[in-house]
């Protein structure tokens, strides 16, 4: 099967940032995303608050350039102020036109 390599960007963040982060994702040119409710703990071994809701995981498959653009925004506007982590990996996909 003919596959192509794209970038999977995973963002885990406070649930209340969902709308703002999805806005950034769309603005960077991503064609789609998947959002899941998740829970866990970070490097500080504590959640921001159970009252403020659980965490969300946003997964985006896109070109490396698009993923980089989203990371730049996260680095500048979100990492210093909110509980957010993000990481990238390479994935093999078919139907490239669905993602880019």
């Amino acid at each position: 099967m003919n596959t192509i390599t794209l970038t999977l960007l995973t963002i885990i963040a406070e649930a209340l940032l969902k709308d703002r982060l999805l806005h950034e994702v769309r603005r960077a040119g991503a064609k789609g995303f998947t959002v899941t409710d998740v829970s866990g703990e970070g490097s500080r071994q504590r959640r921001v608050s159970e009252i403020l809701g659980d965490n969300i995981k946003i997964e985006i498959i896109a070109k490396r350039e698009t993923a980089d653009n989203i990371l730049v925004v996260l680095q500048k506007d979100y990492f210093p102020r909110y509980a957010v982590v993000a990481f990238m990996s390479e994935v093999q996909v078919v139907r490239e036109d669905k993602y880019v």
């Binding site: 406070e14 209340l16 703002r20 921001v48 608050s49 159970e50 009252i51 403020l52 809701g53 659980d54 500048k76 506007d77 979100y78 210093p80 102020r81 909110y82």
Partner: protein, 347 residues
């Protein structure tokens, strides 16, 4: 009834005991947890029922009677965030963001404290002893306090950043904040606001006749509402109990603030209520509203706008200190204040 007897009767109510039971469950490290969806369902039911019943009563009220109490309520919404901020910032030496974040919670209102105060008044003075338009005042008090405290925080942080930049000669790039419009949208469309206003509008439209068909399910005096409230308070006890460990991070000043601020704001609420012509029952509820700290509308708004504020401080103060204080001691105290200022039979 003496104040002590009133405390005793209050503590033995199912709601307060359920709250205490929740705290005990956390202290003994029980795995008991109310599913998040049930908590959300209960809060939707309670807020909608509150709005609906308030709207039904409002449809039969004189709008002129509402004017002075509404002005008093908006006045409270402007005073309490400022007084909270000033005491936290200058007496407690909290950072600008922390002081503003906590002030936003104390400037807003807790709907469950409102309901508990109403139940307490009904138990002591009888059903109907609180003005029907009180839920309207609850919605009026929900937003201004949060907005004023957030504005103080955002302006204060911008000012201190300017001073820092001038001193260092380097202009640091600021991280983007949500626009004012986004914060307003967040507040106006918050679950509590939408349910209260939506319920009230529907209640106003349907009146007593329309309400009769859903009364057994939504009526505040009925078993369904009281049962849901008791279960909700069990969850509040669990949440408050899980935050007790954070009291040591909160510090002595915040603990003292979490008790003295509600007393001062409660007394002011009762006083302004009496000036606005409210009866003793309504003054008690207005006092409890002013004394309470929000934990539904305020936390997300503060987290969005002032992420520099430490959630441990504002959530611990609102949930683990002020909420139980009001439930156990505050409400009977505001009731006594109201009786002293207005008297039982006065209008």
């Amino acid at each position: 009834m003496t104040l002590f007897q009133m405390f005793q009767a209050n503590i033995c109510s199912p709601m307060v005991l359920a709250f205490a039971f929740g705290i005990v469950c956390r202290l003994i490290k029980s795995e008991l947890a109310i599913p998040r969806d049930l908590y959300t369902s209960l809060s939707i039911y309670l807020l909608f029922a509150l709005g609906l019943k308030g709207g039904v009563e409002l449809s039969h009220s004189e709008w002129k009677q509402l004017l002075m109490p509404a002005i008093a309520t908006i006045g409270l919404g402007c005073i309490t965030p400022v007084s909270s901020y000033l005491s936290l910032r200058y007496l407690g030496r909290f950072s600008i963001a922390d002081a503003a974040g906590i002030a936003a919670h104390y400037g807003s209102v807790s709907a469950v404290t409102f309901i508990a105060a109403e139940k307490f008044v009904f138990a002591n003075l009888g059903e109907g002893s609180v003005s029907p338009f009180m839920p309207t005042l609850l919605t009026l008090l929900e937003i201004p306090g949060i907005q004023i405290a957030l504005a103080i925080g955002v302006i204060g942080l911008a000012k201190s950043k300017r001073i820092r930049d001038n001193a260092s000669g380097i202009s640091t790039q600021d991280a983007s904040s949500p626009s004012l419009g986004a914060v307003w949208h967040e507040l106006l469309t918050a679950r509590s606001m939408v349910l209260l206003i939506g319920g009230m509008t529907i209640g106003c439209i349907i009146g007593y006749d329309g309400f009769a068909s859903v009364k057994p399910f939504f009526d505040k005096g009925d078993w369904m509402f009281k049962g849901a409230l008791t279960l909700f308070l069990l969850e509040m006890g669990l949440v408050a109990g899980s935050r007790l460990a954070d009291l040591k991070h909160a510090g002595a000043f915040l603990i003292a603030f979490g008790i003295t601020a509600p007393i001062a704001h409660g007394a002011l609420g009762v006083y302004l209520g009496s000036l606005a012509g409210l009866d003793a029952g309504s003054c008690t509820v207005l006092g409890a509203m002013a004394a309470s700290a929000s934990y539904i509308a305020a936390p997300p708004a503060v987290r969005m706008t002032l992420p520099e504020a430490n959630p441990t401080f504002y959530l611990t103060a609102a949930l683990a200190i002020t909420f139980p204080f009001n439930l156990l001691v505050g409400i009977p105290l505001y009731f006594r204040m109201a009786l002293a200022m207005v008297g039982h039979d006065s209008p």
